[in-house]
């Protein structure tokens, strides 16, 4: 699988090189970074994986609205699920991106204590997913492509969240995304925390920032269950392999979005520029595909994910369908 990663990166590298011819030197920084990325496609060490986890959760890491502010023009935030409540942990809205109207979804963490509590640390209630679904419906009707920015420790584990149907809301949000006929691009920009993340990440293209993490369970939760000791989080993270390179290898994400040297928190403007370029190029790739075909390929993409063996045939790999996607 490492070879596929390499091919993928090379492919992206060559595309960037051709872009570079058109857009001049602005892209050379990214070229250099991709080149470095290619050099270290050999799997990251346990310590490197933990460093990614720490960067993904860094208190100064840009959040959804930091990117919106830098990438969108005329952004109008939309509030409320039209049924019960407004969930500040989920941001939704419309804005101009790359010269056209795009719908934006994304979890939002808070910067200071007050804001963190108001945003519930980016942990969405069912109402947040229902708000996202309402905006997806709106986007479908008006043919607005969707950009979804994933950044959550997970869906909120509380009594009211359960009573209001957390599991069903996550399931239905995915189901709706699988029915849409408009282009959807998702990017994990920080923590891709399990069900809470996938609820808004059933997209045509799934991107992941270089230092983001995407995992079925937090390293702490995994350590508490399997090691019976939450302190074994570094080992758990190493076992879960939630880093971008591993996710790319497994076919879970389609491309890794580079960050400024040292991580996105060192230079939000540059991080936003790099993210904006990646989102724009994904949307351009998808714009020519008819809606029905988009939906068919989107479902086929997720249908193909998984690694298993059968005693009558050789191991089927996710990569098989990954090539069929193209």
């Amino acid at each position: 699988m490492a070879r596929d990663t390499e091919l993928h990166l090379r492919d992206r590298l060559s595309r960037l090189k051709s872009l570079g011819l058109l857009r001049g030197a602005s892209i050379s920084g990214e070229l250099a970074r991709l080149q470095r990325q290619l050099e270290r496609t050999s799997a990251p060490t346990d310590e490197e994986i933990w460093k990614h986890v720490e960067l993904a959760r860094h208190v100064d890491r840009p959040y959804t609205l930091d990117y919106v502010e830098r990438m969108f023009e005329d952004f109008v935030e939309l509030h409320g699920d039209r049924t019960r409540a407004e969930d500040p942990a989920m941001v939704a809205g419309l804005g101009r991106f790359g010269g056209r109207t795009v719908a934006l979804l994304g979890q939002q963490k808070g910067r200071d204590t007050h804001e963190r509590i108001r945003r519930n640390y980016g942990m969405t209630y069912p109402e947040g997913y229902r708000k996202a679904m309402r905006v997806m419906d709106l986007a479908e009707r008006h043919r607005f492509p969707i950009i979804s920015l994933v950044d959550t420790p997970g869906a909120y584990p509380g009594v009211a969240a359960e009573q209001h149907g957390q599991g069903g809301a996550i399931a239905r949000s995915q189901a709706l995304m699988s029915r849409l006929t408009i282009p959807i691009v998702a990017c994990v920009i920080g923590e891709g925390g399990s069900g809470g993340a996938i609820a808004i990440a059933l997209a045509d293209r799934v991107l992941m920032q270089e230092n983001a993490m995407y995992s079925v369970i937090s390293p702490e939760g995994c350590a508490a269950i399997l090691w019976r000791d939450g302190g074994e989080k570094v080992k758990a993270a190493a076992a879960l392999k939630p880093d971008a390179v591993h996710c790319l290898e497994l076919g879970v994400v389609d491309a890794v979005v580079p960050e400024p040297e040292g991580g996105a928190q060192t230079n939000a403007d540059e991080a936003a520029r790099l993210l904006g370029e990646a989102l724009q190029s994904s949307l351009e790739d998808l714009s020519a595909i008819p809606g029905d075909e988009l939906r068919r390929r989107r479902r086929a993409r997720f249908r193909s994910l998984g690694v298993y063996a059968s005693s009558t045939a050789s191991t089927e790999l996710s990569t098989e369908a990954a090539s069929a996607r193209k």
């Binding site: 869906a155 584990p157 509380g158 009594v159 969240a161 359960e162 009573q163 209001h164 149907g165 957390q166 599991g167 069903g168 996550i170 399931a171 239905r172 995915q174 189901a175 699988s178 029915r179 399990s194 069900g195 993340a197 996938i198 609820a199 990440a201 059933l202 995407y214 995992s215 079925v216 369970i217 995994c222 269950i225 399997l226 090691w227 080992k235 758990a236 076992a239 879960l240 392999k241 939630p242 591993h246 996710c247 497994l250 879970v252 989107r298 479902r299 997720f302 249908r303 994910l305 998984g306 690694v307 298993y308 063996a309 059968s310 005693s311 009558t312 191991t315 996710s318």
Partner: protein, 283 residues
């Protein structure tokens, strides 16, 4: 009296009970009645005394639900791989071998064609005994295939779930089984097919947050825990006071997440009735 007080103080500091202290699986945890295996099987593993629903293994569930001799298993040959080379205190591959030896199942789900009350259908049934019914690549693939077979044959799918959620040992790939199974259900629905979701104890986390919640008709067994996050974690994380029926089927039906709670003795005729309504000729 004094003796009682001494005992309770001592017991406070006792270590948690080891596996050997666990009650016998045929002893009712609710009323303490003990049964022979044959007696329990004959009662569909429902306590005749207090109506407690014991867990049911996949094959036995199919025997309870499907018309005799109609079940033909599909994709029994699928086995988990270890894409992450996952190792916690033990290797995932070791856990898999042990689970297969213990349960005589290839993974945590059985699928195949069957008839329920003479209505042909496809069934997918989870087995909690296999690694807590956790959903990894094999469960996801089997469920997706069950949806495809149902669509090809133009019959409804009856899904019975019992799962602790996604299988951690397959890391992010286990999370990807959520969208995978969701897409499969949507394909089935687009083909005009129906899905009946029967949720047994426990149906939680990744399985509740994907295909189990997408049934055209949603049924649960009495007393089953149906929660995205279980009570222990909610309590630890939020320190909220939990209602007595937190996450149980009875609470879920009150909050509007279920169509019905159906006791196991009534399950087969109930599912049959629903299937007849979805079949074109109404036969």
């Amino acid at each position: 009296m004094a003796e009682h007080i001494d005992i309770s103080i001592e017991h406070k500091n006792l270590p948690e009970s080891s596996n050997n202290d666990k009650p016998h699986p045929n002893t009712c945890p609710k009323c303490g009645s003990h049964y022979g295996d044959e007696e329990l099987v004959a009662n569909l593993r429902v306590c005749p005394h207090c109506n407690h629903h014991f867990p049911v293994r996949a094959m036995e569930r199919i025997k309870q639900l499907a018309d005799e001799g109609t079940f033909v298993e599909d994709s029994a040959d699928l086995r988990s791989e270890d894409p992450l080379e996952f190792f916690d205190v033990r290797a995932y591959t070791e856990r898999l071998v042990e689970a297969e030896q213990k349960t005589e199942q290839g993974d945590a789900m059985m699928i195949g064609s069957a008839a329920i009350e003479r209505i042909p259908c496809e069934v997918s049934v989870m087995d909690f005994a296999f690694m807590g019914g956790s959903m990894g690549s094999v469960v996801g693939e089997k469920f997706a295939r069950a949806c495809e077979r149902a669509a090809e044959r133009g019959v409804p799918l009856v899904s019975v779930t019992a799962s602790g959620g996604a299988r951690m040992q397959e890391g992010i790939l286990s999370l990807m089984q959520l969208p995978k199974t969701v897409c499969a259900v949507e394909d089935l629905k687009d083909s005009g097919g129906a899905m009946i979701s029967v949720m047994a104890h426990p149906t939680t986390a990744g399985v509740l947050a994907s295909f189990a919640s997408l049934g055209d008709v949603m049924i649960a067994e009495p007393g089953s825990l149906l929660a995205f996050t279980g009570p222990r974690v909610v309590q630890q994380t939020t320190r909220e006071k939990l209602p007595e029926d937190f996450g149980l089927a009875e609470s879920n039906v009150r909050f509007g997440h279920l169509d019905a709670i159906v006791g196991r003795r009534d399950l087969r005729p109930y599912v049959g009735r629903v299937l007849r309504l979805f079949s074109n000729n109404g036969a």
